[in-house]
Every structure is written in C-alpha cells, then in structure tokens.
Subunit: 381 residues, 2 copies
C-alpha cells in the first residue's frame, strides 16, 4: 500500500426533497448572490427550477443564470459563464444538472477568480489558487463530479477534451435526490452504468499496488451497479435501486477506491475523451466501446487481477471470459460495444488515436500509450 | 435507503514517516500553541515523542503536555486536561496515541471552549457548540476515532462509560503511519480486530433498511480484517497487511458503512461499555465476549442478514454456523469469548445488566434492551 493523502470535504445531502434546502444552505454560508447553471429547459417543465428558485428567494438570495450547457460541455459556454460571474460579482456557483453542468460550474468557479485564460489550467500552464464556492443539485448519477475535485471540459475550437483537478473545486455541498434522476432515459442510464464501472476499473486493473480491500470495494461497486441497473431498466420507479445506483456513482470517483493504490492510469477515459471530442458521442457510450477493446489489449499485463475480476464479477475462471461477459453485459443493457454501432468507420481510427496520443503526452502516459498502441486498441473495437 | 447527510471533513495523511509533517500542518493553520496529549511514556523510549516535538519546534509551535491517559479513558484526567488547556490558552489539541488518547483530546477540545461541566455533554444535558481544532497521530488502529465525531469517556466516579458526538470534534488532521502500530502486542491486535468488526456488524445486523451496497462494504471490511489479522499475528513486520488493517479500521467507523442504513443500533458497544466501566477490561476483549452472545440472542430477528453473513464470511449456509465460526475465530486469534475467561462470574451479570440498562435508556434503546434482556444475553456468554 502506498502513502496517500485523503481529504474529501464535500458535504452530501442525500434523499427525497433535499433540493428544497439549497437556499438555507447557501444562506448559512452568508452568500447572497449566485450564478445558477443548468442545461436544457427541462428543469423548468419538470418543476425543479421552480423549487430551487423558490428556495433561493425564501432566503433572499439573488441569482443570475447560465443555461444551455450541453453534454461534453464546451469551453465557449464556460467562458460565457466566467464573464457573467465576474460582471455580476456572484459569490458562488450553483449547478443544477448532471456532470456536464457541474464540471462547467467548477471551471467557471475557477475562472471567476483568476485573470488567466481558463484553458491554461487544463493545459497545465497555470495553477489553480482558489475558486468560488460550488453548490450542486444533481439530476444524473454517473460522473462522480458531485464529490471530487475534477472537471472535464471540451475546447471545441482545439478538439481537446481535458480535465483539471484542484482541492478548491470540491463542491461545498452536493444534493443527491435519487428521484430527480427518474426522467433519465434507459439509454443514458446504461451509459451512466458504464461510466461508473469505468471509474473504478481504471484503478483496479492499472494500479501498481492494489490492496485487497480496495479490490473488494471496487467489486462491491460493480456488483451494485449491475444489479441496480438491471432493476431500473425494468422498473424505473424502484426507489431503493435508484438510491443505491446514485450513491455508488458518487463512491466510484470520490477517492476512496484508489486511496493507497496509486499510481493508477486512466487510459479508457483518455482514449474515450478523444472519441467524444471528435464525434460528440455520449461519454458512457464511448466508454462501452473502448473498455472491452482496452481490456483485450491490456489483460496480459496484469493477469491475476483480470482473473480475479472474471471470478468475482461473473463467476468465470479465466480473464478472457471476464472480458467477454462484461462486453455482453454492456450490449444487454443497450450500450454500443463497437465503433461501427456509432457509425465511426475504421478510417477514423487514426485521427482518434492521434488526438488521444496528445492527451497521453499531457497525462505523462505516452510511454505506454503511443499512437500506434491506441490504434491497435481501437481496432479491437 | 433512507435519507442521510454525509460530511466527513477530516484530512488523512497516511504512510511512513508522516508524523514528521505535524508541525508544518499545524503551522499552516496559524496555530502557535497546542496541548500535547499522550498515554504512557513509551512514546519517549521509542522515539515518537522526539520526532513529534522536533517537528513542532521546527515550526516554532509551543506546547504543554498531558500524559498518563489510560485505556477506558477517565473523566478525571480529561478534566485535568481541560483546566490545563484553559490556563495555558492553547489553540489546538494534539493527540499522540490510540483511541483513548484521541477521545480524551476530543473531550478536552470541547471542554476548553465551554463553561459547563463537560460530563453534561455526555448526559445530553448540554449541546456542543464548538471545539478547539484537533490533530491526531495514531499509534493503534482500532477505534476509528481518527475520522469521526465520536468520543467515549468513562466517568470513574459514576461508573458510566458514555459517548458524545459532534461535527465539531472530527479531527482536522489524522496522521496514520502503520509502522507506528508495530509495537502493539498480539493480544491487543486481536482486540483491535474484534473492535473493528464490531463497528461494522452493529449496523449490518440492526439496520432497519440495509442496502446491498452497504452490506458489501461491511463484508469487504470484515474479510480484510480477518485476512490481515491472521497475517500480522504470524508476521508483525508485514507492512502491507498492517497498512490495510489500519485503513479498514478507519473506514469501519467513518460513517461510510452506515450512510443510508439508519436507524441502526449499537447494542454490543452499549453492553460492553458497562463491562469495561465496571471491570476495566480491554474494550475489544469485552466485545469478543458480548458479540457472539448477542448474536445468539438476536439472530432470529433478522434471519436473512445472519444467513447472508454466514455465507459471505464463512461459506456456511445457516445463521447459527456463522455465529459459531465467528466465535471460534475470535478464540483462535486470542480474544476471550466468555465472561469466565476474564474472571467475571455469573453473579456479576445482574450488576452489568443494570448498568447497561441505564445506557439503554440514555440511548433510547430501552424498549428492546431491558435489564432482563441484557441479563439473558450475558448468560449466553
């Protein structure tokens, strides 16, 4: 077990109707004006916008709005938010939505307090010194952004999907009401399941030092995701399944599964980010395509852990069968498992690999992940 | 899954030599004078005292000392610490030791900022409004106090072993260097293992609503404790086993296994606290006696979960066998499993049950845990 620091100061308020306390929580922090970020207008038709703004009003909190944040959130929209936050002198950012909205909010929270071009932080050219306080009300369980210091944004002009990490962008409070995720359609539920599994298997398979306890936690998360996804695809009204799904999504990327296991790689995310940067497909869908392809290429480098995975998750006794079963399960829940299924032809592999190889250089993973290797992985897909 | 709030702001610094950063960490918080709490003089002979004070000195941090804190820490010593903290106007409390030292430090941190008799907080007669910042360097992995808001103290005059809980007494920083626990003798290692298991099975068996994910986390912790205890009893030098043991001890009582499962009972601790309040036996030893006796009495009230426990932990297919196996394992690692083994005769059962029944009233558990029921449980032991 390697040395580590673990510090996750985010407060979670979990349960039915918790969105109604947002005004009180923000007021308790002596904040009187926020930037309210959201995506589509759906939150207006389903009543959430009304609840949130009523809660703010009740405590005398003023707000300005940034709407229209899309999946694979874009730098142009983030820059619009930064300008607005500065102009309006807001004291905090409130995200209402999924990971894309929250990641945009986090980036705005950074940009609002620095003079730099915010993309400099993504390129590693500048260091995040501070950020406005961030509050979140989640409507999708998947990215884990609600309890970590990561944000992923796409620089649309440069076709770069990169991330930042800082202790300053852990949300101060994240509200997780599983009922708010009920309107997520089945295909996006499946993509979310893939995303959660992706978050934990990256470390599970690539860690230089993987304690048994951490492996057990990862297996617990995967088992729970699979079990609850299957329930929810049949019965979206099952609250307990939805609540467990929501909570494991948070646990999957809050640092607890990787404490003591570092260094770990993040190759599937790295490759997928190029896929969704270039083709704008859903992140979880891209991961479902990349993961089995990557596993097929990588498993001989950590045979014991791949055998363990096959045994614990699928009751199979060899690594290859574990990979086959996972791919089969992805397909069963409705996620694509080949590039062909999302209409990306073999001709595009070179461009994707070229883009991902740039990320690999940025992430310090270029020794293992050359363009050639990434091409070979993608040909498995 | 029931609604919950999860907020654990404690920072963990985990690994070899981390005790040397304590001065820098305290200085970063602009603290210039601390109360240094510890137990025996052992930390002076093994070099830890020297390292810690050198680290404080290097950053110009002054300190006063409270030493001689014992297991089942006493209110008289805590009151001595409170008086000293007030007189010397310290700005923080630094605990160097195990759970008893840290729990005393937490209570001193509360008492130093209030006018009340500190025992009022334990009796529920007063509310904790604030506390001095608490820093910890752990030399024993067992109680989980390093990452939670609990403290247990014994009022020696009244023979009451009670607890407090407050958001204000989460340590600001806990340093966990597994190597500092190397001198713990085998019997105390065994008691610690029992204590960790006790922390997670209370909720596992008593929760009104136990999500599968939480059960899986508990099972992961128990499996890891058992595996690493067996390794360490044979080879105390195994760093990885010691590190995993240390980390699961923290995970076992930091709120993560019970989030969403409440309300849970804490009956084994409640009964054991009376045992150790009256007979001053080691807490983990008392738990090893109480747990199988309680399980034998309770298992028919939650048969599915007891069957699950037998299956997942011991590969057995009925509840009774699970209890037998756990008791056998406690005995194998060197923990007592009957009152007789710690020289407590059946004549004393009435007095222990009387004391525990008072705790049950205080904990709001007296409907289920009458004196009569507690006597019946103890007769199983």
């Amino acid at each position: 077990m390697v040395d580590f620091t673990y510090h996750n100061p985010t407060k979670i308020e979990f349960g039915k109707g918790k969105e109604n306390i947002i005004g009180a929580e923000i007021a308790n922090a002596n904040i009187t004006k926020v930037l309210l970020c959201y995506g589509s207008e759906r939150i207006k038709t389903d009543g959430l916008y009304e609840k949130v703004t009523a809660s703010l009003k009740a405590k005398g909190i003023a707000w300005v709005e940034l709407s229209g944040i899309v999946s694979n959130p874009k730098l142009t929209k983030v820059n619009e938010g930064i300008a607005l936050a500065k102009k309006e002198k807001v004291q905090a950012i409130l995200a209402v939505g999924g990971g894309s909205v929250l990641d945009s909010a986090k980036t705005i929270a950074v940009g609002a307090l620095h003079g730099n071009d915010v993309w400099d932080f993504f390129l590693g050219k500048a260091t995040i010194e501070k950020a406005l306080p961030i509050y979140a009300i989640m409507t999708l369980a998947a990215t884990g952004s609600e309890m970590n210091g990561y944000a992923v944004v796409t620089n649309d002009a440069a076709a770069q999907k990169y991330h930042i990490y800082s202790e300053h962008i852990y949300p101060r409070l994240s509200i997780l009401n599983p009922e708010l995720t009920k309107s997520v359609p089945n295909d996006y539920l499946a993509y979310s399941a893939v995303d959660i599994i992706a978050h934990v298997i990256e470390g599970y398979f690539t860690a230089a030092d993987q304690p048994h306890f951490q492996s057990r936690m990862v297996e617990s998360i995967i088992q729970t995701v699979m079990e609850t996804t299957e329930i929810l695809l049949k019965n979206p009204e099952d609250y307990n399944a939805r609540a467990e799904f929501t909570w494991v999504a948070t646990q999957a990327l809050n640092g607890s599964t990787t404490a003591g296991t570092n260094p770990t790689g993040f190759p599937n995310h790295m490759i997928e980010h190029s896929l969704s940067a270039l083709f704008n497909i859903a992140h979880g869908a891209g991961l479902a395509i990349v993961i089995p392809a990557w596993m097929t290429w990588f498993h001989t480098q950590n045979p014991a852990q791949f055998k363990r995975f096959a045994e614990k998750i699928f009751g199979k006794n060899n690594a290859e069968e574990g990979i086959v079963e996972l791919k089969k399960w992805f397909a069963e829940i409705g996620a694509p498992v080949s590039l062909k299924e999302v209409s990306i032809s073999a001709d595009s592999i070179k461009a994707i690999a070229e883009n991902a190889a740039q990320s690999a250089i940025r992430e310090g993973a270029s020794e293992l992940y050359t363009q050639k290797v990434i091409e070979a992985i993608l040909h498995n897909a």
